[in-house]
Amino acid sequence: MRALYRWACVVALPVTVAGCGTSAIGTHARAAQASGTALSEAREVLLTRHREALEAASVETAGQARDVRVRRIRDEHARWTPAGEMMDVARAALRSWVSAIALAHAADDGNTWTPHLLRAAARLAQLWNPLVRALAALGVEAPEMPPGMRALVDAAAGGE
């Protein structure tokens, strides 16, 4: 019987420590991972389509004077720069969120930091739909806001 108790303790301790229970910090970190994955995928598609658009502009002006071709390529590029800048603003918001998560973890105080983490997540969430619209205007299908992030932001809005 003593062996069984011992076994139960050996099982229970590591399972608990390994994170089967979800901490606030872990929840934020996983939602930030999903957001990073979604932004990275959108970035790759944006870069691919931008390169294709510049190639198309080059083909379209083949045989014309060089400065005409350069101007056409620059004009095409200019259509894409706002989406690129918006992507970078979203990236900065994601970096701030991840840094806040790391600080909260280092401080070992998820509860005190929770409002800061939720605000950081909300900043990225506010940028998500404008980014999706900017990408859609260029024919780039952007990913929806990850469910984990939406749940955090909805929870924050419900708690205010």
Partner: protein, 65 residues
Amino acid sequence: MDAWMVVSSVLEILARLVPGFLAAFSGSQSDDEAIERARGLVPAATSPALDGQLQDAIDALEENS
């Protein structure tokens, strides 16, 4: 060594392995791992990459002319 001792030793070994298997196959991560992974998933800057593609397209004109 009685049968209980053998069973308990086997169970103890399994118990030490289970959390690792759970973490590996269920995708569960410690907070440290989750934060590190989140850092690694922040994408690179986009505007400089777009500018680089613009420059490549202009350079390609010169190569082809």
